[in-house]
Symmetry: D2
Subunit: 273 residues, 4 copies
Amino acid sequence: MTMSYNLLKGKRGIIFGALDPNSIAWITAERVHEEGGKFVLSNAPIAMRMGQINELAEKTGSQVIAADATSEEDLENLVKKSVEILGGKLDFILHSIGMSINVRKGRAYTDQKYDWTQKGTDVSAMSFHKVMQTLYKNNAMNEWGSIVALTYMAAQRVFPDYNDMADNKALLESIARSFGYFFGRDKNVRVNTISQSPTPTTAGKGVKGFDGFISYAEKMSPLGNATALDCANYTVSLFSDLTKRVTLQNLFNDGGFSNMGVSDAVMDMVTEN
Amino acid sequence: MTMSYNLLKGKRGIIFGALDPNSIAWITAERVHEEGGKFVLSNAPIAMRMGQINELAEKTGSQVIAADATSEEDLENLVKKSVEILGGKLDFILHSIGMSINVRKGRAYTDQKYDWTQKGTDVSAMSFHKVMQTLYKNNAMNEWGSIVALTYMAAQRVFPDYNDMADNKALLESIARSFGYFFGRDKNVRVNTISQSPTPTTAGKGVKGFDGFISYAEKMSPLGNATALDCANYTVSLFSDLTKRVTLQNLFNDGGFSNMGVSDAVMDMVTEN
Amino acid sequence: MTMSYNLLKGKRGIIFGALDPNSIAWITAERVHEEGGKFVLSNAPIAMRMGQINELAEKTGSQVIAADATSEEDLENLVKKSVEILGGKLDFILHSIGMSINVRKGRAYTDQKYDWTQKGTDVSAMSFHKVMQTLYKNNAMNEWGSIVALTYMAAQRVFPDYNDMADNKALLESIARSFGYFFGRDKNVRVNTISQSPTPTTAGKGVKGFDGFISYAEKMSPLGNATALDCANYTVSLFSDLTKRVTLQNLFNDGGFSNMGVSDAVMDMVTEN
Amino acid sequence: MTMSYNLLKGKRGIIFGALDPNSIAWITAERVHEEGGKFVLSNAPIAMRMGQINELAEKTGSQVIAADATSEEDLENLVKKSVEILGGKLDFILHSIGMSINVRKGRAYTDQKYDWTQKGTDVSAMSFHKVMQTLYKNNAMNEWGSIVALTYMAAQRVFPDYNDMADNKALLESIARSFGYFFGRDKNVRVNTISQSPTPTTAGKGVKGFDGFISYAEKMSPLGNATALDCANYTVSLFSDLTKRVTLQNLFNDGGFSNMGVSDAVMDMVTEN
């Protein structure tokens, strides 16, 4: 299962959002490490207390810097320290951050508590703008660097239980395009999002009916659901020099689901009833 | 120029955002009136002081109710009073509300002041959720009613000067889809957005380089830019019974721009240099 | 159920593909007639022998002209005679033509007989180019005229039983955009496609598993499947002056299916198993 | 400039369409060779006579098999011999084939000669179906193999000079999705298209106004046009195990053009006039 091609040798970056070994960001950090990349791990102070991020740091020879990704001050500190620690400007960033209080508290989409909604938007989407603005203003990215955020197809199509996270992801993807233009034009840096299959992470498991949905997605996708490792590998390819002029894109890593209308396997389930 | 087909006879609604005779919402109100629809006009208290909305109210036999579209309380009052005044549940809603302080103050997209950004998001996008949530909870829409919000192609593609309004529009369109699902499933109400050509409204004129951009869009679009009247007519068709099962859609009213890569007219301008 | 707004008063056109009272084109012809439009009906010679088109002609005061829509000669004759009969240039065209021999004969998509495939492409997609080229060369459309072809979402997403008709529809939609540019630029004529819910027409009924699929689509769509009458009404709106600057678009008339990832109703069916 | 990561070690394939050192397929063959992949080169008999493919074959240790990609018989022979020569089933396929007689002969899109159009469709799009059907029926692909075809954004948006190639590319992309479903479901093989920036290949140079267009695309794209080498690298990533669950996708390798509305550089050109 382990591969190494030295695709990221000499590259430096920051990986946000590794909580535990089920996290996509965790597995991506392992893969980036195998490919020769060096990085700083960052997470929200509260997530770090609950998480096992120090294990990952040890395993990958990384340092951990806590940062609330909605705080410009924390991000400023993170970016500056990361450049210092890693010994130069950055080549890659992974943003894997998302949270909805409305989802957590079981509040219906048609009955939002708007200060919760706003908090979710700030954490899940605006944080990506803030990360990029901090990098941009500090001129902290190397030319042909690569910034990736994780997203979900609910940004394009309705998945009722995804609730206000759908809107947060749509906003996140728009921010990727908008900022990607300026980061491309001014710094030759690419910005993309990966729209990943539903993945049984610790965060995902909190969503109502998630198991049934994973199985539905599996049956809809001609190649089955993309795993967290598949996502880590795809991210490695986007951090590498193989994809230097891919930018402003939302890239589906989903076994084909996004372009399915219906599969034979789903039709079979439906007509059995 | 004036047409009347009685397409909206017996229908009731609310029209948000008529500021002055250049506003799309203003012209839509006139067209809806010609087509036999009755409505309440609403605008932010501050916009109303600057605007000439009373003229429009008089011309169309409408009442005006001030409402801050970010205030749940104001919207609750507006919806309840509208149903009372118009004598029954509502059939149509036009949301034509948008504002970016970053744009107004000339703040670059890569140098956002985030409390301004958040205010813009609240006014331009979350207000649409709040309007729909108020209507939904008050069960204020008739079956087969139609809700329309105005948007712009910057939600899909980069127009650098559009700044954070691009992201606000992406969020707005996502909210249309997300809420549209529940409004369709539970109340048989459709929700769509119209993505309009750049239009020389009083609001639009504030955007940097807007005249040059209008002329570029004109040259890119095989049928030229859609006017405010074109938009009003399209909105009438979406409020009418001719489009009962069109929902969750983002509909381009733009002379074809959205599906252009390049036009001969633009290539001519570019190669003359 | 019957409506009339005089939306098409004084307008002239050609309607292709009315086979029997279940046909979308048939119902559209009835609605266009109610709205005051005059037209010539056309169908392939063989379809006309099987169909009941003369009933429709009588009911709507129309003449019928047989034309093989893959024959430039037949189309030339049709267009010239239509202008003559109707007393002037044309304002609207409905293309509702499609056929796959591979589907009819139960040939799998992975085992195509390519001369059948080519015949299907010619009838289902290239015929639309030929119709437009004939109209364009004969300068037979009035300014602000409207050309509509019917299509299906299989052009964007996979519906396995749709077989090679999916590819034909993708080609058809591309032709609409490509020709729409020239028709817009040179003649101020709009060209759009309507992507309709699966509809129980006589043609549709031939597709394997069609009933199960209709029921699946119904459950996926927040407003349910759009009916043939809904499609006729939508087409009327696109032929009318309400949509003068809508062009190059593929417009979904599908109760919202196209923007659904999954509905609660489908998840219920799937998790019951 | 040369990189090698051993990404394709042990993988076998067929590369269609290498004409001369400017061809994307040529450069891809070189990169695949550097990455450890083995392959057969194939081209149309007539293209081979004009081309320098034997140089490439020598350089990469490959054999050349002539095949008319519209002939099922030729493809059958090619696939069988390739498996034999390479010593096992195939892991990757590159389809880089396209041709329009209407373009070559300067025939307008509104004045097509339809037997030329049909020939172009057969060569440029149906050939891809035929290649896949031959592979599928001969069970010639290994699990997790990867099939890639090159396409262009004219499939989604209008580029007037691209003529009927736009429609051919739309058909090609649809075939990728449609066949991709069956190849995924039945053989765990992925199928994708890369939508590449305009590239100054020998074929591209034939298109009217191509130089002006390349320069326009360069100015529209925040990272500039993707080169043939960029395309080769992206293709390598799609052939590799890093992208195992990416399928049915159309992937833009275009410096960001596809998601641009307008760039500052283009606005500058336009407003100078």
